[in-house]
Protein backbone atom coordinates (compact mmCIF):
# COMPACT_ATOMS: atom_id res chain seq x y z
CA UNK A 1 0.00 0.00 0.00
CA UNK A 2 0.97 3.65 -0.41
CA UNK A 3 1.54 5.62 2.78
CA UNK A 4 1.44 9.42 2.58
CA UNK A 5 2.50 12.05 5.08
CA UNK A 6 1.55 15.73 4.92
CA UNK A 7 2.54 19.06 6.51
CA UNK A 8 4.71 18.69 9.65
CA UNK A 9 4.32 14.89 9.62
CA UNK A 10 6.07 14.87 6.26
CA UNK A 11 8.82 17.12 7.67
CA UNK A 12 9.35 15.09 10.82
CA UNK A 13 9.31 11.75 9.02
CA UNK A 14 11.54 13.09 6.26
CA UNK A 15 9.48 11.95 3.28
CA UNK A 16 6.03 12.47 1.77
CA UNK A 17 5.25 9.03 0.42
CA UNK A 18 6.38 5.39 0.52
CA UNK A 19 5.26 1.95 -0.61
CA UNK A 20 4.94 -0.56 2.24
CA UNK A 21 3.47 -3.94 3.06
CA UNK A 22 2.76 -4.03 6.81
CA UNK A 23 3.06 -7.21 8.85
CA UNK A 24 0.02 -9.48 9.04
CA UNK A 25 -0.63 -8.54 12.66
CA UNK A 26 -1.20 -4.90 11.66
CA UNK A 27 -5.01 -4.76 11.60
CA UNK A 28 -6.14 -1.23 12.50
CA UNK A 29 -4.84 2.26 11.85
CA UNK A 30 -3.56 2.33 15.44
CA UNK A 31 -1.64 -0.91 14.79
CA UNK A 32 -0.16 0.66 11.69
CA UNK A 33 1.04 3.69 13.65
CA UNK A 34 2.59 1.38 16.30
CA UNK A 35 4.35 -0.55 13.60
CA UNK A 36 5.57 2.63 11.84
CA UNK A 37 6.93 3.99 15.15
CA UNK A 38 8.97 0.80 15.58
CA UNK A 39 10.71 1.60 12.30
CA UNK A 40 12.60 4.64 13.57
CA UNK A 41 12.79 7.71 15.80
CA UNK A 42 11.53 9.98 13.03
CA UNK A 43 8.22 8.08 13.05
CA UNK A 44 8.10 7.90 16.86
CA UNK A 45 8.56 11.68 17.04
CA UNK A 46 6.05 12.44 14.29
CA UNK A 47 3.33 10.25 15.84
CA UNK A 48 4.09 11.23 19.45
CA UNK A 49 0.78 13.01 20.06
CA UNK A 50 -1.86 10.84 18.42
CA UNK A 51 -4.71 13.17 19.36
CA UNK A 52 -3.62 15.61 16.67
CA UNK A 53 -3.09 13.00 13.94
CA UNK A 54 -5.76 12.70 11.26
CA UNK A 55 -5.91 9.74 8.90
CA UNK A 56 -7.54 9.05 5.54
CA UNK A 57 -7.95 5.59 4.01
CA UNK A 58 -8.35 5.66 0.24
CA UNK A 59 -8.91 9.43 0.51
CA UNK A 60 -11.74 9.11 3.05
CA UNK A 61 -11.39 10.31 6.65
CA UNK A 62 -10.96 7.35 9.01
CA UNK A 63 -10.48 6.66 12.74
CA UNK A 64 -7.65 5.05 14.70
CA UNK A 65 -9.60 1.84 15.25
CA UNK A 66 -10.68 1.44 11.62
CA UNK A 67 -9.30 -1.67 9.85
CA UNK A 68 -6.76 -1.09 7.10
CA UNK A 69 -7.54 -4.28 5.16
CA UNK A 70 -7.89 -3.56 1.45
CA UNK A 71 -6.48 -0.05 1.72
CA UNK A 72 -4.50 1.07 -1.31
CA UNK A 73 -3.61 4.51 0.08
CA UNK A 74 -3.38 5.62 3.70
CA UNK A 75 -2.52 9.23 4.50
CA UNK A 76 -1.53 10.80 7.82
CA UNK A 77 -1.73 14.54 8.45
CA UNK A 78 -2.44 17.21 11.09
CA UNK A 79 -5.86 18.90 11.40
CA UNK A 80 -6.59 20.83 8.20
CA UNK A 81 -6.11 24.61 7.99
CA UNK A 82 -7.40 25.69 4.55
CA UNK A 83 -9.71 28.57 3.73
CA UNK A 84 -8.97 32.17 4.57
CA UNK A 85 -6.34 33.30 7.06
Amino acid sequence: MTLMYFAWLKQKIGMGEEELTPHDNVVTVADLIDWLCSRGDNFATAFEDRDVIRVAINQEFAELDDPIAGAAEIAFFPPVTGGQT
Binding site: A7, A75, V80, T81, G82, G83, Q84, T85
Partner: protein, 149 residues
Protein backbone atom coordinates in the same frame (compact mmCIF):
# COMPACT_ATOMS: atom_id res chain seq x y z
CA UNK B 1 -18.00 23.30 -9.91
CA UNK B 2 -14.75 23.00 -8.04
CA UNK B 3 -11.18 23.89 -8.99
CA UNK B 4 -7.88 23.38 -7.17
CA UNK B 5 -5.18 25.47 -8.76
CA UNK B 6 -1.95 27.36 -8.22
CA UNK B 7 -3.00 30.31 -10.43
CA UNK B 8 -4.90 33.34 -9.22
CA UNK B 9 -8.60 33.80 -10.08
CA UNK B 10 -10.83 36.69 -11.25
CA UNK B 11 -14.01 36.84 -9.16
CA UNK B 12 -15.83 39.08 -11.65
CA UNK B 13 -15.20 36.71 -14.55
CA UNK B 14 -16.15 33.69 -12.44
CA UNK B 15 -19.46 35.23 -11.34
CA UNK B 16 -20.26 36.22 -14.91
CA UNK B 17 -19.50 32.72 -16.25
CA UNK B 18 -21.52 31.07 -13.48
CA UNK B 19 -24.68 33.18 -13.83
CA UNK B 20 -24.68 33.74 -17.59
CA UNK B 21 -27.86 32.75 -19.38
CA UNK B 22 -29.78 31.95 -16.19
CA UNK B 23 -32.25 34.81 -15.51
CA UNK B 24 -33.94 32.86 -12.70
CA UNK B 25 -30.98 33.79 -10.44
CA UNK B 26 -31.85 36.70 -8.16
CA UNK B 27 -28.87 36.78 -5.80
CA UNK B 28 -25.18 35.89 -6.00
CA UNK B 29 -22.99 35.71 -2.91
CA UNK B 30 -19.23 35.42 -3.19
CA UNK B 31 -16.59 34.98 -0.53
CA UNK B 32 -12.89 35.63 -1.12
CA UNK B 33 -10.32 34.58 1.47
CA UNK B 34 -7.11 36.62 1.47
CA UNK B 35 -3.66 36.12 3.00
CA UNK B 36 -3.30 38.47 5.97
CA UNK B 37 0.02 40.03 6.93
CA UNK B 38 -0.62 39.30 10.60
CA UNK B 39 -1.24 35.96 12.34
CA UNK B 40 -2.04 36.57 15.99
CA UNK B 41 0.68 39.09 16.88
CA UNK B 42 3.18 37.75 14.38
CA UNK B 43 4.05 39.47 11.11
CA UNK B 44 3.83 37.22 8.03
CA UNK B 45 6.03 37.53 4.92
CA UNK B 46 4.84 34.54 2.89
CA UNK B 47 2.48 31.61 3.23
CA UNK B 48 2.59 28.23 1.54
CA UNK B 49 -0.44 26.00 1.09
CA UNK B 50 0.16 22.27 0.87
CA UNK B 51 -2.70 19.95 -0.04
CA UNK B 52 -3.54 16.31 -0.74
CA UNK B 53 -4.10 16.04 -4.50
CA UNK B 54 -6.99 13.71 -5.26
CA UNK B 55 -8.56 13.83 -1.81
CA UNK B 56 -8.83 17.63 -2.02
CA UNK B 57 -10.92 17.50 -5.20
CA UNK B 58 -13.05 14.69 -3.76
CA UNK B 59 -13.78 16.59 -0.54
CA UNK B 60 -14.51 19.91 -2.27
CA UNK B 61 -16.93 18.17 -4.66
CA UNK B 62 -18.66 16.51 -1.72
CA UNK B 63 -18.94 19.78 0.22
CA UNK B 64 -20.48 21.46 -2.83
CA UNK B 65 -22.87 18.55 -3.33
CA UNK B 66 -24.00 18.80 0.29
CA UNK B 67 -24.70 22.54 -0.15
CA UNK B 68 -26.70 21.83 -3.32
CA UNK B 69 -28.79 19.31 -1.37
CA UNK B 70 -29.43 21.59 1.59
CA UNK B 71 -30.24 24.83 -0.26
CA UNK B 72 -31.94 25.85 -3.49
CA UNK B 73 -28.93 26.81 -5.56
CA UNK B 74 -28.88 27.56 -9.27
CA UNK B 75 -25.09 27.46 -9.40
CA UNK B 76 -22.06 27.24 -7.14
CA UNK B 77 -18.29 27.31 -7.40
CA UNK B 78 -15.36 26.59 -5.11
CA UNK B 79 -11.81 27.56 -6.12
CA UNK B 80 -8.97 26.85 -3.70
CA UNK B 81 -5.37 27.76 -4.47
CA UNK B 82 -2.21 25.99 -3.28
CA UNK B 83 1.50 26.80 -3.37
CA UNK B 84 3.35 29.92 -2.21
CA UNK B 85 1.30 33.08 -1.57
CA UNK B 86 1.95 36.60 -0.26
CA UNK B 87 -0.08 38.88 2.02
CA UNK B 88 -2.98 40.34 0.04
CA UNK B 89 -3.12 37.33 -2.29
CA UNK B 90 -6.39 35.51 -2.87
CA UNK B 91 -6.56 31.97 -1.36
CA UNK B 92 -10.09 30.76 -1.80
CA UNK B 93 -13.29 31.71 -3.63
CA UNK B 94 -16.81 30.44 -3.00
CA UNK B 95 -19.77 31.57 -5.10
CA UNK B 96 -23.40 30.64 -4.54
CA UNK B 97 -26.27 31.75 -6.79
CA UNK B 98 -29.95 31.34 -6.01
CA UNK B 99 -33.38 32.79 -6.73
CA UNK B 100 -33.41 34.22 -3.19
CA UNK B 101 -30.61 35.78 -1.22
CA UNK B 102 -31.09 33.78 1.97
CA UNK B 103 -30.19 30.51 0.25
CA UNK B 104 -27.14 32.08 -1.37
CA UNK B 105 -25.87 33.57 1.92
CA UNK B 106 -26.40 30.47 4.06
CA UNK B 107 -24.98 28.07 1.48
CA UNK B 108 -21.88 30.23 1.09
CA UNK B 109 -21.21 30.32 4.84
CA UNK B 110 -21.73 26.57 4.92
CA UNK B 111 -19.20 26.01 2.09
CA UNK B 112 -16.55 28.02 3.92
CA UNK B 113 -17.22 26.41 7.32
CA UNK B 114 -17.06 22.87 5.99
CA UNK B 115 -14.11 23.63 3.75
CA UNK B 116 -12.09 24.87 6.70
CA UNK B 117 -12.56 21.63 8.64
CA UNK B 118 -12.85 19.00 5.89
CA UNK B 119 -10.67 20.00 2.92
CA UNK B 120 -7.08 18.66 3.22
CA UNK B 121 -5.07 21.89 3.07
CA UNK B 122 -2.26 22.91 5.42
CA UNK B 123 -0.79 26.39 5.79
CA UNK B 124 2.80 27.16 6.56
CA UNK B 125 3.66 30.73 7.47
CA UNK B 126 7.06 32.35 7.18
CA UNK B 127 7.93 35.53 9.08
CA UNK B 128 11.07 37.30 10.24
CA UNK B 129 11.20 34.83 13.17
CA UNK B 130 11.11 31.70 11.02
CA UNK B 131 8.65 29.15 9.61
CA UNK B 132 5.76 27.38 11.24
CA UNK B 133 2.72 25.27 10.42
CA UNK B 134 -0.56 26.96 11.20
CA UNK B 135 -2.56 25.20 13.92
CA UNK B 136 -6.24 24.43 13.43
CA UNK B 137 -8.59 26.75 15.31
CA UNK B 138 -11.30 25.53 17.68
CA UNK B 139 -13.50 28.34 16.40
CA UNK B 140 -13.54 26.66 12.98
CA UNK B 141 -14.84 23.43 14.53
CA UNK B 142 -17.52 25.42 16.30
CA UNK B 143 -18.50 27.17 13.06
CA UNK B 144 -18.70 23.86 11.19
CA UNK B 145 -20.71 22.20 13.97
CA UNK B 146 -23.63 24.62 13.57
CA UNK B 147 -24.54 22.91 10.28
CA UNK B 148 -24.84 19.44 11.87
CA UNK B 149 -28.25 17.82 11.58
Amino acid sequence: MIRVQQEDFDVGAEIKALTKGNPSIGGVVSFIGLVRDIAGDRSIDTMTLEHYPGMTEKMLARIEEEAQERWNLDASLIIHRYGPLNPGDQIVLTITASAHRQDAFEANEFLMDWLKTKAPFWKREAGADGDNWVEAKDSDDVAAARWSP
